[in-house]
């Protein structure tokens, strides 16, 4: 796949190559046109997982190389009537939705897909199933009773709702702090700290800012309570743990959705599926400082970061 990487200077050649890929789509069988946001590792791994599970004739277009021609190239691709379009990443998803409301689109590794999906869209989120996350938190932090969540209701209320029932099953309680801006988020982290035994940071563009993260990480370590983050970079910064998505497995999940659609299922009846496999990232220094037992069986496959 590294052969897809290129420079801006080779734009004309790339456009030609993209069109060649379209024209060269093999005749017969299922035709699938894959839109890559870029040819970086997460999308390449997701594509491998997708293609392995869903045999077809694949056309590939890498949007990051199109330099302003993304919509035109995608419309050309749509004009050749593929049976399905997997859109890998948020920018690919947005371009695909602009290009067609008829051909089924399966998004993969998309974080921000909006509140309502178009009827021709289903997808595999980059988010790990909140229920699985909660079960993992329980294994990691057996003493955790009240899990604080600061979130913007416009962005991530659905995650909080989905997690709420699971926390009760696990004997925990979600303590929600709605915040509509950064100031509200900082206030919530400061004023709410006595009401929680740990914080769960959601991938919310309003509340998950650098300032808010540094603040909650320092305050929490001072109080000895854990912070669970949505990605590895926050674990490197000091959060105790994060669940890292398995890109290949999410691609495979996208392929399962694609196969159902190709057999006649309506995308709108499938909707969004969350990732179910993950790898745990742990900051060994800050984990020890909040007394997490690093010898548990969960640690065998964990990725340890930090100093």
């Amino acid at each position: 796949m590294t052969g897809l990487r290129t420079t801006r200077g080779a734009r004309a050649a790339l456009l030609g190559a993209a069109l060649l890929l379209l024209l060269a789509g093999p005749a017969g069988g299922t035709e699938i046109a894959v839109l890559f946001s870029s040819d970086t590792e997460p999308y390449v791994r997701a594509y491998e997982g997708f293609a392995e599970k869903c045999p077809a004739n694949y056309w590939k277009v890498v949007l990051s190389t199109m330099a302003g021609e993304e919509d035109r190239v995608t419309r050309d691709m749509v004009g050749r009537r593929p049976d399905l379009i997997p859109a890998l990443g948020t920018s690919a998803y947005r371009v695909a939705v602009r290009a067609t409301d008829r051909i089924p689109i399966v998004f993969v590794l998309v974080l921000d897909y909006g509140e309502e999906l178009p009827p021709n869209v289903a997808g595999a989120s980059i988010r790990i199933d909140p229920a699985i996350q909660i079960q993992t938190f329980r294994r990691l932090f057996p003493e955790l009773g009240r899990l604080g969540v600061v979130f913007d209701p416009a962005n991530t209320a659905h995650i909080v709702e989905r997690a709420r029932a699971e926390t009760e099953k696990e004997g925990m309680k979600i303590v929600p702090f709605p915040a509509e801006d950064l100031g509200g988020a900082l206030r919530a982290y400061g004023e709410g700290e006595e009401e929680v035994d740990g914080w769960w940071l959601l991938p919310d563009r309003t509340t998950l800012t650098s300032e808010a993260v540094d603040f909650v990480l320092q305050r929490s370590l001072e109080r000895g309570v854990p912070v669970i983050a949505p990605s590895r970079k926050y674990v490197e910064r000091g959060a105790q743990a994060a669940l890292l998505p398995d890109y290949r497995a999410i691609g495979s999940l996208g392929a399962e959705i694609a196969l159902r659609i190709l057999k006649g299922k309506q995308p709108s009846s499938i909707g969004i599926r969350y990732a179910e496999t993950f790898r745990l990232a742990v900051n060994s220094r800050t984990a020890r400082e909040v007394s997490i037992d690093l010898s548990g069986s969960w640690a065998r496959d964990a990725l340890f970061v930090g100093d």
Binding site: D214, L217, Q218, R219, S220, L221, E236, R237, G238, T286
Partner: protein
Amino acid sequence: MENREKPGGGASILIVDDEPFIAQSLLRIFRREGYAVRVAGRAEEALAALRDDPPDLVFLDIMLPGGSGLGICRTIREDPLLRGVRVVLLTALGRESDREAGFAAGADDYITKPFSPARVLARARTLLDSSPIGGA
């Protein structure tokens, strides 16, 4: 900006950081233990506080408004009146180059943010116990 407190008996500590929550966190940690703590948020305030009443220990952020923490560290090492002051740099995770530059500038130790009370107190006690000025 300078915030002075004079509990009896403790060693004196100067906290130099422009992030209020970091400075407040260190202030709480050392106040509880009875240290005399001052806070400065800018480089020039820090230099004035150092010369006004040299502390036993300085917690020093590297990036400061009005100057560099490394520059302050070098000043401490070059000034005969401040040479005995112990210096702990406050660094961000993953900034090994900051640590190397800090030791080259004469820092005695570093603490990575975020930090726990236990870790920061242990470092302070170790340095103060070996201080030529006096122990905690």
